[in-house]
């Protein structure tokens, strides 16, 4: 059969029917493979070759969270493929086919949405491929389709017929693309909910996995950028004589907002960059430090802000006087500090622009690059590679580092590909941090000790204002990501008021794994713990009594407490003056509810060690329980790094940190033992990439309060950490 014909047939069929199923024609970047002369491509998400290989086209970035394995599982489940025949390929940038269904037409990865938004879509993709194979077999064998079984990549009929996917793809490709498919009920799942190994384990344990950093192209140069010493500084003058003379340095490129050195390799480029003599105009640059920002935030916290949530009249109750629990919580700027420092490969050609990147926000980056270059978005080709972590950083609302790489390529004389590589210092100092926040929380209790009024003022920069996300993320001056987790406080409080002061300064800020929940979970869960203590009640029982309207919160809280042995006496005294405590926290983010019980040990010298964390999670149907456990473990470790150590501080507008010696992160000796318990559920899956992060901070803080009777309110705790 002529493969061109079959594709044309499919196109005709798709244009006349198939509302949901789009066509997967001529996917860019596909390997020419002798075995795939007549592949079955019923939609944009799956391709089956005549050798039986099932390729799932992943519309989401794999940055460690297991999205590729999860997406492939959804397809393979409904296809009844054998896991060993499944492989994954990154999708092209094409919002029409690969949009994030939660992001209104835009393609990208974030908000713990990969599996959740693909849940139905990718199962349908698998089911329609399966149906076409079944119909082809029914025709060939002359038996009713309903009598054909599909199991682990093999179709069979009781009359003795048997065929693998590969034998049937050509015939199946001639079958009409189904307009409706029946999906399995959870009882029929064979892969979902079971142990399915990650698809990227082998390549990532042998050094073969390819990241942006590893891209090698013919005639490629490496670019290392000199970033401004302070945010808002502008390049006035440049003496590049010394740099240009260095061996391996090819070109010094001055572009819109900076200067880069192109070298034959990284080291030449970096040596050249370091040899530049630069004169910066800092007259309009950031001049404040973190301390000044915080002082002004404290002033704002004394004034009413824009109201994000109002229930009852908290002001009136608080103004009545009586005992008020009040605390100021301070959260520093945080860098993402993924293991792979930011980088991007760009090749400008007369007819367009090709980019190789751990691409987290295709549509936004494509639009930004197209606008800069005066191209159509489809002339910007994006090749999706693995990202060596991101934690939100590669989904930059201003496409910052991608545009920087493109700007360098545009300004350079060199016409071949350019790999821009940031050093770790660039990565930590160039901004786009989790914003600095101050929360002031004031709470009064009723005669039973329950919260009567709760007022929370949040002060900090808005992430979405001034970005393309403003239109749907900022309403009436409230950036939803500044107040999420507080404005929707789960606890029953009759008088609740959450206010926001959105501040402005020159520090670029953006989402950081779990976004607003990184600070709201801490302040709300520490405050509720203080309330429980003031009411002389058990922290778990106290919370449960206020969670009537939130059974999922209550269920994970009970499960975590039970598995942690909360009801059993807890040994607080350890050897050599060691004091131990345990604390609990529960928080919902991205549709997933997580409770954690942390056990910490405080040594005489003030050093603390988190020894054990028991975690319970309700994330809907557990597609891959082992990946879920891994994400919760990782989220706890990532959150703990921030709570113990994480702080980017500014002094006189200058970022003080530069590398892992002064921006310490968690190391293996600080990692607690972790148990993850997954609550059974029949709800559609919600995300797990971020929700492990928010509860660990308050759980540790509450454990410290168990020891010392006071709650830490200024983060990080590093001055006392081991």
């Amino acid at each position: 059969m002529n493969p061109e014909l079959s594709r044309r047939d499919l196109l005709k069929i798709a244009s006349t029917g198939a509302a949901m199923l789009t066509l997967g024609l001529f996917l860019p970047g596909r390997r020419a493979d002798a075995a795939s002369l007549a592949p079955l491509e019923p939609n944009a998400f799956v391709r089956i070759d005549s050798n039986g290989r099932v390729t799932v086209i992943a519309k989401h970035l794999e940055m460690g969270q297991g999205s590729h394995t999860g997406l492939a599982t959804l397809v393979a489940e409904e296809l009844d493929a054998d896991w060993s025949q499944v492989q994954v390929e990154g999708a092209a940038a094409d919002a029409a086919r690969y949009q994030n269904l939660f992001w209104g037409g835009s393609q990208g990865t974030g908000g713990s949405s990969s599996l959740a938004n693909s849940w139905k879509q990718l199962r349908e993709a698998g089911a329609s491929a399966r149906l076409m194979l079944v119909n082809a077999a029914a025709e060939r064998w002359g038996v009713p389709a309903a009598e054909i079984r599909v199991e682990r990549g093999v179709l069979s009929h009781r009359a003795g017929h048997r065929a693998g996917f590969g034998e049937l793809v050509e015939a199946a490709a001639r079958q009409p693309v189904p307009t409706q498919v029946k999906l399995k009920s959870p009882g029929e799942f064979r892969l979902i909910g079971r142990h399915v190994p990650r698809l990227d384990s082998r390549d990532k344990t042998t050094g073969r996995a390819r990241f942006t950093q590893d891209v090698q192209l013919l005639d490629m140069l490496t670019a290392v950028v000199a970033h401004p010493p302070r945010f808002g500084a502008r390049l006035r003058g440049i003496d590049s004589q010394a740099a240009a003379k260095l061996p391996g340095v090819v070109e010094v490129v001055r572009f819109d907002h900076g200067v880069a050195v192109l070298g034959r390799d990284f080291w030449s480029a970096k040596t050249g960059r370091d040899a530049l003599k630069l004169d910066w105009d800092e007259s309009a640059a950031m001049s404040e430090g973190s301390a000044e920002l915080l002082a002004s935030y404290r002033g704002l916290a004394s004034q009413p802000g824009a109201v994000a949530r109002r229930l009852g009249d908290a002001d009136a109750i608080l103004n009545r006087g009586g005992r008020v629990l009040e605390a100021d919580f301070v959260f520093p700027f945080l860098a993402h500090a993924a293991m792979e420092p930011l980088n991007c490969v760009v090749h400008l050609r007369p007819d367009g622009c090709e980019i190789w990147n751990g691409e987290q926000m295709q549509t936004g980056d494509q639009a930004a690059v197209a606008k800069l270059l005066g191209l159509k978005p489809q002339q910007v080709k994006l090749n999706m590679l693995y990202a060596g972590g991101s934690f939100g950083r590669r989904a930059n609302p201003a496409a910052d580092y991608v545009l920087e790489a493109v700007s360098i390529a545009r300004a350079a004389r060199h016409r071949g590909p350019i790999k821009m590589v940031w050093t770790r210092e660039d990565d930590l100092r160039a901004g786009w941090y989790r914003p600095l926040y101050l929360h002031r929380v004031s709470v009064t209790l009723d005669e039973h000790g329950r919260p009567l009024a709760w007022r929370q003022r949040i002060v900090g920069q808005s992430i979405m204002t001034g970005t393309p996300f403003e239109a749907f993320g900022v309403k009436n001056g409230i950036d939803s990501t500044s107040v999420e987790g507080a404005a929707n406080l789960a606890y029953q409080v009759p008088h609740l008021q959450v206010e926001l002061h959105s501040t402005q300064n020159q520090v670029p800020v953006q989402w950081w794994r779990s976004v607003g929940h990184t600070h709201t979970a801490y302040s709300t869960e520490v405050m509720i713990d203080q309330a429980a203590r003031a009411a002389r009640q058990d922290p778990v029982a106290y919370r449960l009594a206020l969670l009537d309207q939130h059974p999922r919160h209550a269920a994970v809280l009970k499960l975590a407490a039970e598995r942690a042995g909360w009801q059993r006496p807890f040994q607080q005294k350890g050897p050599r003056g060691l004091r131990r405590g345990r604390g609990v926290a529960v928080h919902e983010s991205f549709g997933t509810v997580v409770a954690q019980v942390a056990e910490v040990a405080l040594a005489r010298d003030g050093s603390l060690k988190v020894e054990r964390v028991v975690c319970a999670v309700d994330c809907g149907i557990a597609v891959n329980p082992d990946v879920i456990r891994a994400q919760l473990e990782g989220g706890i470790g990532y959150g703990l790094a921030a709570i113990l150590h994480g702080a980017v501080t500014l002094e006189g507008g200058r970022v003080q940190q530069s590398n892992f010696h002064d921006y310490p992160v968690l190391r293996i000796n600080e990692m607690p033992r972790i148990e993850v318990h997954i609550l059974p559920s029949d709800r559609p899956p919600s995300g797990v990439g971020e929700p492990g992060v928010p509860p660990i901070g308050p759980a540790v803080a509450n454990a410290l309060a168990h020891i010392e009777g006071r709650w830490p309110t200024v983060l990080p705790l590093k001055t006392r950490s081991a």
Binding site: Q65, S201, T205, Q213, T271, A338, A630, G637
Partner: protein
């Protein structure tokens, strides 16, 4: 021009004397399994073996490599490496994977000299390897698992 020995072969390298071994491996020899993470021997992503010992290749200038036998993740062989890689895959240790070449080089070096490491010994050997995905519990478990396999095979 320098001659260095990498993965069992001699290579002529035309690079400045101060070029870190990491960038010689990555940019001159196209051995990209060894990763750049910090450039200051703080994170361990660039860990390779020099004469069997784990070293941070980002902080070893080309001129200092001398006659040392350099082994990268691409050339890592032997029972300890195989056991570590098998355990890593069995327990699905990896997440983003960027640090894992370095983790594996450190872990295999540990197990080649100590086939019954305690948690404290694992902390000491692996303390220089950062993983931002915090795969640490699985790294620890996989090292114990690999150690068990190595002891079992010898018996």
């Amino acid at each position: 021009m320098y001659e260095i020995h990498v993965n069992g072969r001699a290579h002529q390298v035309d690079a400045a004397a101060d070029t870190p071994l990491l960038w010689v491996l990555r940019d001159h020899l196209q051995l990209t399994g060894t990763k750049y993470g910090c450039g200051m021997a703080l994170c361990g992503a660039c860990t390779v073996w020099l004469d069997g010992q784990p070293n941070r290749s980002c902080s070893i200038p080309l001129s200092a490599v001398g006659k040392a036998k350099v082994v990268t993740i691409e050339g890592a062989e032997g029972r300890a490496t195989q056991a570590v890689q098998a355990a890593w895959q069995k327990l699905d240790v990896v997440q983003c994977g960027y640090c894992q070449s370095g983790q594996i080089m450190s872990a295999a070096a540990l197990l080649s000299r100590n086939q019954r490491p305690s948690d404290a010994e694992i902390d000491a050997a692996m303390g220089g390897n950062i993983c931002r995905c915090a795969t640490y519990p699985r790294i620890r478990a996989a090292i114990h698992e690999a150690a068990k396999q190595l002891r079992g095979r010898r018996a």
